[in-house]
């Protein structure tokens, strides 16, 4: 299984979590994601996800002027997005707990 397949779905939750820290724009979001160790995914991957999250009303956007270049789109979470983040955290905790347990019991690859 490739990294990208494994990341699908998880990336959504991570984006929600980062946006929850405060209003961000696309480039900033990609940079933050990278700083947490998501280096293999190309930066543009976030945009299709952001478009979907906007359609599903998880995030809202506001356009602000930037000094050099086009207007900048800032993302923030909606109440629906916050609920989804909460649900993601619970799902993730459960999943990572189970995966941890299996890996620890079965031990390392011999």
């Amino acid at each position: 299984m490739s990294n990208t397949q494994m990341l699908k779905g998880i990336l959504d939750g991570c984006l929600l979590a980062i946006i929850n820290e405060g209003e961000v724009y696309g480039y900033e979001l990609a940079e933050k994601l990278e700083s947490y160790g998501f280096q293999q995914t190309s930066e543009g991957t976030i945009y299709p996800l952001l478009i979907r999250m906007q359609k599903e009303e998880m995030v809202t956007t506001t356009l602000k002027k930037s000094t050099a270049g086009p207007r900048r789109k800032y993302y923030s979470l909606t109440p629906k997005g916050k609920n989804e983040l909460q649900a993601f955290i619970e799902r993730w905790n459960q999943l990572s707990h189970s995966v941890d347990q299996i890996l620890q019991k079965r031990g390392s690859v011999k």
């Binding site: 724009y25 696309g26 480039y27 990609a30 190309s42 930066e43 543009g44 991957t45 945009y47 299709p48 478009i51 979907r52 359609k55 930037s66 050099a68 270049g69 086009p70 207007r71 900048r72 789109k73």
Partner: protein, 254 residues
């Protein structure tokens, strides 16, 4: 546009242009296309300032990335309404030409053929734009393709003309004097209507250049040959004047 702007590298600008064309020919909503292109432009500017390449942003397949974006965006049903309008435009054009010359007379083949050719051409163009936007081809190849795409409508309509001569299908519409005047008025109304709808002068200027001199010359009492020569020369001169004018105007704007 606001003044001091970071200029993107050719590779990035190419990608943005191709993305617009790809999404546009996939029938995505105008506003959504503009938004995502603007957002990626901002991202690419920031990334280039830090020395990152396009492939760092979009991955190694521009086509796959364009598809990913396209899949999340909504189809604009407004595009479907363009088809009948283009058909209507061509219809008005043919109609007006006929009223000036030999009078309106359509065979069954023409009645079916004109709309069919328009629809085939439009669908084909959309497919080709989408293909060209997402595929890398050499300069010579893209010039050849553009040339072929440009001559295609002429070939189709000439083909229809010849087919109409070769296969005699029954005449289904034939108008008398009053009918022709009404037809001309309808055609002019369609041109004005499309012009208002599209908010461009194009569908008024082009038919005027093409038909007004011919119409005025047909009213004179010159010999048939003189009329033909006059029509062609006037057409030639006005088209050149119009081209120079639009070229100068476009240059002024940039």
């Amino acid at each position: 546009m606001n003044a001091p702007k970071h200029t993107l590298t050719a590779a990035s600008q190419d990608f943005l242009d191709n993305l617009s064309l790809y999404l546009f020919s996939s029938g995505k909503k105008d506003k959504e296309v503009k938004e995502i292109v603007e957002e990626l432009e901002d991202h690419l500017i920031e990334a280039e300032k830090r020395g990152k390449s396009v492939s760092h942003i979009i991955g190694h397949s521009p086509k796959a990335y364009m598809e990913q974006l396209s899949n999340e965006m909504s189809f604009d049903f407004k595009w479907l309404s363009y088809l009948p309008i283009i058909v209507l435009g061509v219809f008005a054009y043919v109609l007006l030409g006929d009223t000036i010359r030999e009078g309106v007379q359509f065979t069954l083949l023409q009645v079916v053929g004109y709309p069919a050719v328009c629809i085939i051409l439009v669908l084909f163009y959309l497919k080709m734009f989408k293909f060209l936007a997402s595929t890398k081809i050499s300069k010579t190849k893209s010039i050849t393709t553009t040339f072929i795409l440009g001559t295609l409508p002429i070939l189709f309509f000439l083909g229809l003309m010849y087919a109409n001569d070769a296969y005699k299908t029954p005449v289904v519409i034939k108008l008398g004097t009053t009918g022709n005047i009404i037809a001309a008025l309808v055609a002019i109304a369609i041109f004005i209507g499309i012009s208002l709808w599209s908010k461009t002068w194009f569908t008024i200027v082009i038919p005027t250049i093409l038909f007004l001199p011919e119409f005025l010359i047909s009213l004179t009492s010159f010999e048939k040959e003189t009329k033909a020569i006059l029509t062609i020369s006037v057409l030639f001169v006005t088209l050149i004047i119009y081209n120079v004018y639009t070229f100068k105007k476009a240059k002024k704007e940039t």
